[in-house]
């Protein structure tokens, strides 16, 4: 009973604060939400919530504001994702379906996400699909060590050292090299996994272990985010919070300017398939202490391709952001599959 109401109070505080961006007091709370109790009772609950670290007051005799911990609890326990309206879904569909190519899809996606959430949106976007193999080389370093050199048509060069269980004969190496070259060179990264699917089978059984290792290494190199890109959109939404934003938006913009940071934000996704929310200092990027990041993953076929998400102030509409990220990720996945 008591605990239930406390949660309700927390939810109400978050809701109000998100809506108004102003500390919320006990009286306003009972008026706006129909909790069937008096302000005094709420005050007690608030004191308890403050003790537990979920809310805080900017100064004595001001209303309460949720802490990062408060948002965390709110997100974990209270949010029921509100599905998008059917009108929204239709709009998304139309907007996305008119995309021309991969670049266009990404640009549209980021626009869409920024629009839906009214936040800064980011879409990670493996250029895998556009790179292709120019050449591949296998060099023997010692009897059990190989170096694989992969030359991408963008001019980039990737090197890997491969440790083999058993010594490799020069002949096998030459054979493997030749067949590998003829199989993958000129092929776009995206098709390499397919092309190599049955590659090992054509070798003698005793060599398949080694071939498998080499193939696996190559696949790893190709699948890895070699040449990733992140598109950013809706940065203007940051400016909306004027002075209300804790501190200036400058550090945030600086952070978002760094590809590396964006990658990290988008990379640190929970293994679970759903949407991840990182609140305030849960982001280990210092400049983003006052922001929350909502990320999701999208895929093509049945392999995960990359992530997308939004960045906004901690006092954001989590329910909306989560459902938008989820929905957009789904649509992108669908569009990619259709292509």
């Amino acid at each position: 009973m008591v605990d239930d109401r406390r949660l309700a109070v927390l939810r109400a505080i978050v809701d109000d604060y998100v809506a108004t961006h102003e500390p919320v007091g006990s009286k306003a709370l009972v008026e706006r939400h129909n909790l069937g109790v008096s302000p005094a009772t709420i005050r007690n609950d608030m004191a308890a919530l403050e003790d537990e670290g979920f809310i805080t007051q900017p100064h004595t005799s001001a209303g309460r504001v949720p802490t990062d911990l408060g948002y965390r609890l709110f997100v974990d326990r209270l949010t029921q994702v509100k599905p998008l309206s059917s009108a929204e879904r239709r709009a998304i569909q139309v907007f996305m379906e008119s995309a021309v190519d991969l670049d266009d899809i990404m640009v549209r996606t980021v626009k869409l996400l920024a629009q839906l959430t009214q936040q800064v949106a980011m879409v990670q976007y493996p250029s895998l699909a556009r790179s292709s193999v120019r050449h591949i080389e296998l060099i023997s370093l010692s009897s059990t060590r190989l170096m694989m050199v992969l030359i991408v048509d963008t001019g980039r060069v990737e090197q890997r050292v491969i440790e083999c269980a058993a010594p490799i004969s020069d002949q096998l190496l030459a054979d493997l090299r030749a067949r590998l070259i003829s199989t993958v060179s000129g092929k776009p990264f995206s098709s390499v996994p397919e092309v190599l699917a049955r590659f090992a089978e054509s070798f003698a059984p005793e060599d398949q272990g080694l071939v498998g290792t080499v193939v696996a290494t190559l696949l790893e190199a190709v699948t890895e985010r070699i040449d990733e890109r992140v598109v950013l959109g809706g940065t203007a939404h940051l400016a909306r919070y004027g002075e209300a934003f804790p501190l200036s938006i400058q550090p945030v913009l600086e952070a978002l300017d760094e590809q590396v940071v964006l990658m990290r934000l988008l990379g640190e996704v929970s293994s679970a398939g759903g949407v991840t929310v990182r609140i305030g200092h849960e982001n280990d990027v210092e400049a983003l202490e006052a922001t929350s990041v909502v990320t999701g993953r999208y895929s093509r076929g049945d392999q995960t391709v990359a992530s997308l998400g939004v960045v906004g102030p901690t006092h954001m509409d989590y329910a909306g952001a989560i459902s938008a990220v989820q929905a957009v990720a789904q649509y992108v996945t669908r569009i990619l599959d259709e292509q």
Copy 2:
């Protein structure tokens, strides 16, 4: 004599205002710059400059602030571009030389430019170089009208209608189509002009007019900015101007979020080879009324490839921005040529 001093005064005002972002008065002016006259004289000059529309006062009994027109005059007449220090040049060289591929060059360029100017930098970057022709089709619409359909390997489709001076025989059309396909399909855009250089010559003299038209149309389509991209960097610098920035930075960010706007900014470059400066409302983008744009062009070989530039408040360091844009454009050109 008089006019000379007035220009000196204007320059001093711009210098001071750029440095301090505060309206500059007559007394401060004579103190900081050693104009050999008294404040009263300066006041007279200021009054004249104000009459002519070069400066203005935010309110009575405040110092003067340059108008857009004032900046224009300043840029046109007074700026002597200060060359970069040799240390700067070396740093640029090192930074740029370690670029891996085209993408990397662009990312580095935009970073560099933002760093040097402490402004928002943008680099236009024709993906021409990366697109290639998948297929080309010629369809007869009437005896003198053709439709050319160009399919790019990114999946994009370009259509052009070609009006011919004389009727075209089916046979010529079929021949042209076949030879065009075999000549350009699979070729990267960048090589198409070269590949088609002597294409028309292999046709019968009486057909060369038509073939020339078709080739010209194709070249146009290929050379045109079909699939251009713009990278943006240093947006954080906008936030530096806090409230000092006329109005909020939101509209500016919004504008910069739009590829289309960026294209326009970078596209409207004076035909002259040098650096173009557009000040305040000289940009016909409304949101950028309070900003100036400095753009330059870079090239690969001897054909102009694309533009780069910076966007900042009208009270920016024009001399620095101009020289930085110029220098970076030169370096990019050099790097591209070396590749």
